[in-house]
């Protein structure tokens, strides 16, 4: 089974040279730590920055420079700053190549639910609905099952939807799966020590197993 850093590291291998990428809060943020040295990737922060750098040194903290998770950050050379309207114009206009975000549920046709649990305090969707409605490529980083042990890869989402038919790939502690255009989770890789059967048992939606199943390199 992968820990959250290993999930982030595996997702980082999906990055390609020249990509502009939006990273959601949580595990997706960790992906920044594993970007391969030989490629150039620019990270977008939807509150108005292209070119997120590492966290600042103690003496360099600037309250006027934060990411969408409200963490203090720095900028890399070649960064640009802009308004929220311009930022979402960028997102909605499909200029961002890849969005990586967390989810509560993903359905076998690529629907995602990640913003609201009925009966609990609703904090809001933030930029998630804009991102999932607009991204050319969406990868979800999440646990395969929830705290009650129920699968988060479902036939249909049970929680309120964030966006339809948008998730392309999922990386969990157990496996890497593609969401097929015609529906279904295609198993690509399993975590070290995890069997196909274990993935099957943890997946409520249609799991498609065929061809070689690789083991995730950690």
């Amino acid at each position: 089974m992968l820990d959250k850093h290993q999930i982030a590291k595996r997702i980082a291998r999906e990055l390609k040279d020249g990509y502009y990428v939006n990273l959601g809060i949580g595990i997706p943020t960790l992906v920044a730590n594993y970007i391969p040295q030989n490629i150039n990737v620019v990270l977008q922060s939807e509150n108005g920055l292209l070119g997120i750098g590492p966290f600042p040194a103690e003496g360099e903290v600037d309250a006027d420079l934060i990411n969408a998770g409200k963490q203090t950050i720095t900028m890399v050379d070649g960064s640009s700053l802009f308004s929220s309207a311009e930022s979402f114009a960028m997102i909605r206009g499909e200029h961002v190549d890849l969005t990586i975000l967390g989810a509560m549920e993903v359905s076998e046709n690529g629907d995602i639910a990640n913003w609201k649990i009925p009966g609990k305090m609703v904090k809001g969707m933030g930029g998630a609905m804009d991102l999932v409605a607009s991204a050319k490529n969406i990868i979800v980083a999440m646990q395969h099952v929830n705290k009650e042990g129920k699968s988060k890869l479902l036939k249909e989402c049970t929680l309120p939807i964030t966006g339809l038919h948008c998730v392309k790939k999922i990386v969990t502690e157990l496996a890497v799966l593609d969401v097929l255009p015609e529906g279904g989770f295609r198993l690509l890789e399993v975590a070290p020590g995890v069997t196909v059967e274990e993935v099957q048992n943890a997946t409520e939606g249609k799991l498609i197993v065929g061809g070689e199943i690789k083991t995730i390199e950690v």
Partner: protein, 231 residues
């Protein structure tokens, strides 16, 4: 050039009335109009509708106006990090309208730009789309969203001049530029106010035409929500 300078935040808010709709700039606590919020607390104006991406924290930003029960409705994209907010929401004292962040930003831009409605893909298939017109363009579904305007827009900039031109700094820009365009009256507080002619016309983020009142604020706390540093 027209001089927009006023004495300070109390003069800025003098005619803000009970029941007014306000836009307040900022993302989290970054780029919020601290001085004008303080003046609103002093004035004690009531039944406000506040359009702002977030609702502050319990003891800073819009959170302070929630504590004093000055706000009856929030229009936001994300309202976490606030216990009092949660209490008022659950008790029915506070109404909340949640919008996708990009839709919020674009509706405000549309309000300032004279665009009464536009189509966006955000929210299709979700509860945000309920009651809204859906239309397909090039095989993709979009929903119709309308403009947002305010009686007063309250923004915070880094530098400003006497003509009302504004320059923001870092990610403190966020919602401030669009909000500056969408208020019947726009109030700008700045960290540094300079005479017209000192700012490079080519580097202005908000042209003075959008700003009716400007003053230099003081004692910016600029509280940080998530202080993260290199280990």
């Amino acid at each position: 050039m027209i001089n927009k300078v006023i004495n300070g935040p109390d003069e800025a808010v003098a005619d803000i009335f009970d029941g007014a709709t306000l836009m307040l700039g900022g993302f989290g606590l970054c780029g919020i109009p601290e001085n004008t919020i303080d003046a609103l607390l002093r004035k004690g104006v009531k039944r406000l509708t506040c359009i702002s991406n977030n609702a502050g924290v319990d003891d800073f930003g819009i959170g302070l106006m929630l504590k004093t029960r000055q706000v009856v409705k929030m229009i936001s994209s994300y309202v976490g990090e606030n216990q009092e907010f949660e209490r008022q929401l659950l008790s029915g004292e506070l109404e909340v309208e949640l919008l996708p962040q990009g839709t919020l930003a674009e509706r405000i831009r549309a309000g300032g730009a004279g665009i009464p409605a536009f189509f966006t893909p955000a929210g299709v298939g979700t509860e945000v789309a309920e009651g809204k017109e859906i239309r397909e363009f090039n095989g993709k579904k979009y929903l119709l969203e309308s403009w947002l305007k305010a009686d007063f827009s309250i923004v915070k900039a880094w530098k400003g001049d006497t003509a009302g031109n504004l320059i923001y700094k870092g990610t403190a820009r966020n919602f401030n530029p669009m909000m500056a365009t969408a208020g019947k009256i726009t109030i700008a507080e700045v960290e540094e106010l300079v005479p017209a002619g000192e700012l490079d016309p080519n580097m202005i983020h908000t042209p003075g035409i959008f700003v009716q009142r400007i003053f230099q604020g003081s004692h910016y706390e600029k509280r940080i929500e998530q202080r993260t540093t290199k280990s």
